[in-house]
């Protein structure tokens, strides 16, 4: 049924936010600090601006094909064979990102909470919840994401406690690291925005007018940008330059330094909640990969492809989990992310504008 598959504006916003906020944000200040130093938060705002432009491009592209999802758009613009090829690449990209999420997730979890639990058990837990939710239709996934979004509030409320002892001089003078470094930091921050391409897949299933979509997507992007830069800003003024270089997950170290009357180590609680945020990102990638797969192999149902995708991610994550491999994997994912998230959609938009391609006939998207 088509109707059951539609999501509201609010659900779209939470869907986008939940897909984007995942593994990366815990180590975001550390990663960007390598380049932009005390101006990392400006870098993030820059990335936010850039992503806003990208998002508008996405919407322009989607509006030209209002009832098709991304893989159908690929086919309409590039033709059948090339379209299928690209869909195949996208499937690979989604699986790669999904696996990266898994690998990083278990890596951080093992370091912070469960050093003795076997690697594959944690993987298995994550994969099984991924399957459990991702086989459902879009509206149910969106319901789950909405509930998961309450966790973000927790982070936003707890992080400002750091203001008790911060040193604003750590980020002074503003702009000291130079424009080039800020831009460099901004490009490296794109990994944190990865997942924004979900807009292309959701677009035909959102119950909203064009204007409302722009608003919803802008709101989601604004939220993400502010959320990231807020957390990064707090980390920057809390830890000194030398400290932050040693802390790969500054957000968690920040939380670890707090203590309350009833909870001595809030970071343990928040890492647990962070699992949900990772889970939602992983579910999104499973969903995307299975959707792409179902478009490639028409005979298979999306449900069975969810199992297949989860299986592939699981095995990938089992074999690539060394320290060096994780560094490599993150690098690859960032670069392929740039390609699949930015280059190809923009390229598609230019093509469709040049050749005046629009949706022909009533080819409806059938996400389920």
């Amino acid at each position: 049924m088509k109707n059951e598959n539609q999501i509201s504006k609010l659900q779209m916003i939470t869907f986008i936010i939940q897909t984007q906020i995942g593994v990366a944000f815990l180590s975001l200040p550390y990663e960007i600090h390598k380049f932009a130093k005390g101006d990392s938060w400006i870098s993030l705002i820059l990335t936010g601006f850039f992503m806003e432009v990208l998002v508008i491009f996405y919407l322009v592209l989607c509006n030209r094909f209002p009832k098709q999802h991304f893989f159908q758009i690929l086919e309409s613009i590039l033709g059948k064979v090339l379209g299928k090829c690209f869909t195949f690449f996208y499937t690979g990209y989604f699986l790669l990102t999904g696996s990266t999420i898994l690998v990083l997730f278990v890596y951080i979890l093992k370091r912070w909470m469960l050093p003795y639990t076997p690697y594959w058990v944690l993987l298995f837990l994550m994969v099984s919840i991924g399957i459990y939710i991702a086989i459902e239709n879009l509206s149910i996934i969106a319901r789950f994401y909405f509930i998961a979004s309450f966790i973000l509030i927790l982070f936003i409320v707890i992080a400002p406690i750091a203001f008790r002892d911060v040193n604003i001089h750590y980020i002074m003078p503003i702009g000291h690291s130079g424009v080039m470094n800020m831009v460099k930091g901004a490009t490296h921050a794109t990994l944190a925005w990865q997942g924004i391409e979900i807009i292309l897949l959701l677009s035909p299933n959102v119950k909203a007018t064009r204007k409302e979509r722009v608003k919803a997507v802008t709101f989601a992007n604004l939220f993400i940008t502010l959320f990231y830069s807020f957390l990064t800003f707090i980390c920057l003024i809390y830890f000194s330059k030398e400290e932050i270089r040693l802390l790969p997950q500054p957000v968690l170290f920040l939380l670890k330094s707090f203590s309350f009357k009833i909870i001595e180590r809030p970071d343990l609680v928040l890492v647990s909640f962070w699992i949900i945020l990772v889970g939602t990102s992983f579910i999104s990638y499973l969903y995307s990969a299975s959707l792409a797969g179902a478009f490639l192999i028409k005979k298979w149902t999306r449900k069975s492809l969810v199992y297949l995708s989860a299986f592939i991610c699981f095995f990938f994550a089992i074999f690539f989990n060394g320290e060096n491999e994780i560094i490599k994997l993150t690098k690859y994912t960032t670069y392929t992310g740039l390609l699949f998230m930015i280059a190809i959609p923009v390229f598609l938009l230019i093509l469709s504008l040049l050749f005046r391609k629009r949706q022909k006939g009533e080819v409806n998207a059938e996400n389920d």
Binding site: L125, A142, S272
Partner: protein, 499 residues
């Protein structure tokens, strides 16, 4: 005596000119009740003319009809209802609308061919079999009446409270041998007709030998029987049933059961009680909040304790660390075993308490609660704190308004405890994700179960975790897709007038 047969061929021919008015009147009454199936008509012969007695079988006493209408008619052939008020409560010269009201109150209405007069007789059934307050749903304020085991009496309670022709009752029979009467009750003009149709279809396609309890019916009718969460609300309270009907839900009643099944319901319906609306706004909200949080407490407390003791000792602040350590130190078992022993004991006491007659049940409570609890700590098998934790869990699970939901919670604590014992907080979070995911998936008759949280609905939140003032609950629940969305039009209108 000659049995009054209807329609009589001779009469039909001789009074052909008046048939239309008589028939239209009969038809009018029938159609104003929407051809309700509990509206019965008995043909009579009155002064050589045919007539008909209308009455609602659910509200009228057939013995009274026999005594006050039929016997006099048979005895005195020239009896005139209008002349002599020969029985209590005869009203004559009613118009059609009055007669419908009279019927709704339980009176019998007599319509006679060739006569403009409509008579009504007081034949209200004495709804006795002393209905008492249901044990499982006690309230402090409000009505203290409960359903009984007779379907028609129960329907009578509802008819009594909703004096409207919009109240619709559809009878079905199920069970090949028992032929149990099942009534689908809803309010026409409020309930979504699609939902009614779906319920009717499900009832019609029941092919079983018997329907012996509401649980039977529930399992055969509901969407996901294997889910731990109940999606049909049981109630023994007429006032609660009426409130649910007025929200646009459907009630399923069956003969021989004092429980009414309400569907479709959402998760938060199980936390509402009549008391919430009978107490003041702030207290009512507080009680509702207490009940919702008791769900979380009983779900999470034992597993959090296990996770902290087994995995995350560092999370306890120093001040509490010492008493916890002292209590746990000499216990031979891991916390999971401790918790399972205690939780299982509590379940045993509960089950024993239900099965035994009340005085013995209390003894069991004392033996179980006090003696076992005290001795098990003294023996050093279970820690003090674990006893506190499990006792708190049990108490908060019993706070939940619905018996089914409180059982659900206690069942769910077991897998949560196991996952907490194997993975600590991580295990709890994963289990919670499964539970919440399951709640998001559940649908009761096509309406989302976990609304108003997911899908989010701000209007619905007014009556979920806290209770907003009644004048602010203007709309009926959105997820039911009711036909008449507004519940209150101008509540507290007097405020404007008094200004």
């Amino acid at each position: 005596m000659k049995q009054p047969a209807f329609p009589n061929d001779k009469n039909e021919q001789s009074t052909a000119n008046k048939i239309s008015t008589f028939d239209t009147r009969v038809e009018f009454i029938k159609s104003s009740f929407g051809h309700a199936e509990d509206l019965l008509m008995t043909p009579i012969i009155y002064k050589e003319e045919k007539g008909v007695i209308f009455y609602l079988a659910t509200l009228s006493d057939s013995e009274k009809i026999q005594n006050s209408i039929l016997f006099p008619l048979i005895k005195y052939h020239s009896l005139d209802f209008g002349d002599i008020p020969y029985t209590v409560g005869v009203q004559s010269k009613l118009n059609l609308n009055d007669s419908i009201n009279a019927l709704l109150q339980g009176n019998s209405v007599v319509i006679i061919q060739g006569s403009e007069d409509i008579f009504s007789f007081n034949t209200v059934k004495d709804l006795s079999r002393s209905p008492k307050e249901p044990d499982s749903e006690k309230t402090v304020r409000g009505s203290h009446i409960g359903f009984v085991e007779s379907l028609s009496t129960n329907l009578g309670f509802i008819r009594q409270s909703i004096e409207s022709t919009h109240l619709k009752i559809i009878y079905h029979q199920a069970g090949q041998y028992t032929n149990t009467k099942i009534a689908i009750v809803y309010i026409d003009g409020i309930a979504n007709p699609n939902l009614v149709r779906r319920v009717e279809e499900r009832i019609q396609t029941l092919f079983t030998d018997m329907i012996f309890s509401p649980g039977y019916l529930e399992e055969l009718v509901e969407d996901t029987p294997l889910s731990p969460f109940p999606h049909i609300l049981y109630t023994e309270r007429p006032d609660r049933t009426i409130a649910q009907l007025m929200e646009g839900r459907i009630a399923l009643m069956s003969e021989g059961s004092s429980d009414v099944l309400i569907l479709p319901v959402s998760f938060f319906s199980f936390f509402q009680t009549t008391d919430d609306y009978n107490s003041r706004i702030i207290t009512g909200s507080f009680f509702r909040f207490l009940r919702v949080s008791s769900f979380l407490i009983s779900l999470l407390l034992p597993c959090l304790y296990i996770a902290i003791i087994a995995f995350h000792f560092e999370i306890i602040p120093n001040e509490i660390l010492v008493p916890v350590k002292n209590s746990v130190e000499n216990i031979p078992f891991p916390p999971l075993i401790e918790a399972v022993i205690m939780a299982f004991t509590i379940e045993l006491i509960r089950e024993a308490g239900i099965r035994l007659p009340t005085p013995i049940g209390q003894t069991i409570g004392i033996v179980g609660g006090l003696i076992i609890g005290d001795a098990i700590v003294a023996a050093g098998l279970v820690s003090n704190i674990m006893v506190i934790v499990i006792a708190l869990t049990a108490i908060s699970s019993f706070t939940i308004a619905s018996y089914e939901m409180s059982n659900t919670v206690r069942i769910l604590t077991f897998p949560l405890m196991v996952s907490a014992a194997s993975f600590g907080f991580v295990g709890i979070i994963f289990s919670l994700m499964f539970i919440v995911g399951h709640l998001c998936k559940l649908e009761s008759l096509g309406t989302p179960y976990f609304t108003p949280i997911a899908p989010f609905n701000l209007q619905g939140m007014k009556d979920a975790i806290v209770r907003f003032p009644i004048w602010m609950l203007k709309d009926r629940p959105k997820e039911l897709l009711v036909r008449n969305k507004k519940r209150l039009n101008q509540p507290r209108r007097w405020e404007k007038n008094e200004k």
